[in-house]
């Protein structure tokens, strides 16, 4: 007879398309100690992925970008599969990973300019190519939304302010933005437990 916590663990693994035999240290620890947090975590993941203003494909692509940003291969693979199952194609999947990579760079660069707070760094050229931002296969609105979510994870104030502004100009609503941020936030939390 499984305990409620063991049931939740297996359901969580199944939600992610992972084998029941998977052995993730932190997940096992939470299960063995009957931690009720596991139930919160699974509800939070399901809620985040079922956002009203995000399609399933968009939610999984955001989750993939967040997992890539966290360098979590297990979750990246899991969310890639889910995105493909929900209508994404390979170029879109790879763009989510590219977005996470580029934004990791940009977040450091612009955070530095902000923190250092000196004119000279504003004037020195960035010398970072960002051509994928011009004509993303995912469309500009979604690429900006994804960039914003990654920036929220990495904590770059200037990036958050400017991407939030630009994504609103592209016609997004604040509830959609917050749902995208929720996906990123929950996936980072999940990444502490499943990796």
């Amino acid at each position: 007879m499984l305990t409620a916590t063991q049931e939740t663990k297996f359901d969580l693994l199944r939600d992610l398309g992972l084998s029941e035999d998977s052995n993730f240290q932190a997940l096992e620890k939470l299960t063995d100690t009957e931690s009720r947090y596991l139930r919160d975590l699974r509800v939070n993941l399901k809620t985040a992925l079922a956002g009203e203003t995000l399609s399933a494909k968009e939610a999984y692509l955001l989750a993939l970008a967040a997992a890539a940003n966290e360098e979590n291969d297990v979750l990246s693979k899991a969310f890639e599969e889910k995105a493909l199952d929900n209508g994404a194609d390979l170029s879109e999947v790879s763009e989510a990973i590219a977005c996470a990579s580029l934004l990791a760079t940009n977040n450091i660069l612009y955070r530095f300019r902000h923190y250092a707070n000196k004119d000279v760094y504003e004037q020195l050229p960035a010398r970072v190519k960002m051509n994928i931002m011009l004509k993303p296969v995912l469309g500009r609105e979604f690429f900006e939304l994804m960039s914003l979510a990654i920036s929220a994870i990495n904590g770059c104030e200037r990036c958050i302010t400017s991407h939030e502004n630009s994504v609103l100009h592209l016609g997004t609503t604040e509830p959609r933005i917050f749902e995208a941020i929720r996906v990123a936030a929950v996936v980072v939390g999940l990444s502490k437990v499943v990796r």
Partner: protein
């Protein structure tokens, strides 16, 4: 004139000890359920009633609750199905119906109708329960009730939505706004 007075929000859910069907395995079919079970585990209780076993609308609805068993479990809620049929009728129905064999929640037998009577959910003519759903908090207080007439099915997603809304989230002090009391958990 017949007046139905249903026990409602704010009232203490009545104390009960009833037989319930929890398994198809021989010797493990039945167990005692009480109004204390969920409180001991610091859980919520979601109890949904239907009029009669072996009728048509019921299995669809019960299967839908069962499909969402994990959602209730993960919200720390004990899910219980109930009717005024006996535990033996419940068992026979479960053995009999494809959609009911794999049920993961107990089917409570209010054979004496004492609980349904106390809740005020018996239909006047047949003395069977309306399609009532109760959400009871870990302290045993009724926090939500919905009542459908005999032939009207329920929306399980709506029950989960209400449960979510009743269970406070954002307990984190990060959500503290100027002028608010500090959060006491």
């Amino acid at each position: 004139m017949y007046q139905n007075r249903i026990l409602s929000v704010g009232a203490t859910f009545p104390a009960f000890t009833k037989q319930a069907v929890v398994s198809l395995e021989k010797g493990k079919e039945f167990t005692d359920l009480t109004s204390e079970d969920h409180k001991i585990n610091d859980q919520w209780m979601v109890m949904f009633w239907w009029p009669k076993d072996f009728t048509f609308v019921c299995p669809t609805e019960i299967a839908e609750f069962n499909k969402n068993y994990d959602e209730f479990r993960d919200r720390d809620a004990m899910l219980i199905g109930a009717s005024t049929d006996s535990e033996f009728v419940h068992l026979a129905w479960r053995q009999n119906h494809d959609d009911l064999r794999g049920l993961r929640f107990p089917m409570l037998a209010d054979t004496s109708k004492s609980l349904a009577e106390e809740l005020g959910i018996l239909e006047a003519n047949e003395k069977v329960a309306y399609r009532v759903t109760y959400i009871v908090d870990p302290q045993g207080i009724i926090r939500w009730v919905s009542l459908n007439d005999l032939s009207v099915g329920r929306n399980v997603a709506e029950v989960l939505r209400v449960l979510d809304a009743l269970q406070t989230d954002e307990l984190c002090p990060c959500n503290w706004k100027k002028g608010e009391e500090t959060i006491a958990v």
